[in-house]
Symmetry: C2
Subunit: 201 residues, 2 copies
């Protein structure tokens, strides 16, 4: 027999995870009032539905900001979510803050691959071809296309925010961290615009 | 007979005005050690030379930043100067901070007139012509050109940061405030890039 589920427990779990009221209630029911287990259940359920949620509209959100101690480098970045409730969640705000620090250090040029202008891609392809002309000459056509594709992915992972290795854990991409946050919080989250200004750059 | 000029007085005046060491020394000499008078002298001299200074290179500077209390609106703006000494001056930092607040409220689209793309100007001219077709028809050619020029100036004063009325005193343009700061500090100061992000805009 578990603990009785109180409204305070549901509210506490909601505050902690940012998940919907009914989901918190259900997770606590299923865990027979074990709060830790309920949180795990929410997380597992969240990962499964994160992909589904990623199509939902994000019209709320907050701004992550970072100002370097010398006052000469600053970043603002827009992180979007579905409800203002989540925008005020600590996990959400922590991510926004971390993301601003990431942008300060990693200097992305675009948010995602889709934003890279066609002429930048063409220029990069020409550079790849020029740099690896000798290597390319020895390979069959199919292998060449694969090499170019691999090098383009590297270009994206250098310059697109969501494709960059996360500065706080470079085994993950920023996109992975966003996906984990969606799983944990249980509503769609997306990265919007960002700006990075460094004096004299 | 005035007070003897000490190194501490020169340094204090330099800290206060950001003016060059030799200029502070000369101003104090001329004011016979009267610090207030010396400051006035520096200011008068500064206004005279501000125009001359505005051509000088600004490779140093700082970032003014503003974050709205709800965390949903943020601004960063680059203010440039000639030396790092001035970038750390309080007047300079105060202006950078005020300018970020100005951008948050006044929503400029460009820093100066020169940055407005040609197609935006053409579109605005077409709008002006359409809106005041009746008025225009009654005027001779020369008057029409004047009307369009006046309306374009209004467009610039709405959308170009340096042409906007300063939010803290709308009798001045932002460009005037910059000029006053150049006069007061005694080295060239310019407004660089800015970014304004508001969630859901």
């Amino acid at each position: 027999m578990g603990n009785p589920i109180t409204a305070a427990m549901v509210q506490a779990l909601r505050e902690k995870t940012g998940a919907a009221m009914m989901d918190c209630k259900r997770a606590l029911d299923e865990a027979a009032g074990d709060v830790t287990k309920a949180e795990d259940n929410l997380r597992i359920k969240g990962i499964k539905t994160a992909e589904k949620k990623s199509g939902r509209a994000t019209s709320q959100g907050g701004i992550g900001h970072y100002l370097h101690h010398d006052g000469k480098k600053a970043v603002i970045v827009e992180v979007k979510c579905e409800t203002d409730f989540v925008a005020r969640n600590d996990k959400f705000k922590e991510f926004a803050k971390g993301l601003a620090m990431h942008v300060a250090a990693a200097k992305p040029r675009w948010t995602n691959k889709e934003e890279v202008p066609a002429d930048a891609i063409e220029k990069e392809k020409a550079m790849i071809a020029a740099e690896s002309a000798e290597e390319m000459a020895k390979k069959p056509e199919a292998a060449r296309a694969k090499i170019i594709e691999g090098r383009l992915q590297k270009f994206y992972s250098q310059h697109c925010l969501l494709e960059q290795p996360w500065v706080l854990d470079d085994k993950k991409k920023v996109a992975d961290v966003v996906k984990e946050l969606i799983a944990s919080i249980g509503e769609n989250i997306s990265v919007g615009r960002f700006a990075r200004i460094e004096v004299g750059e």
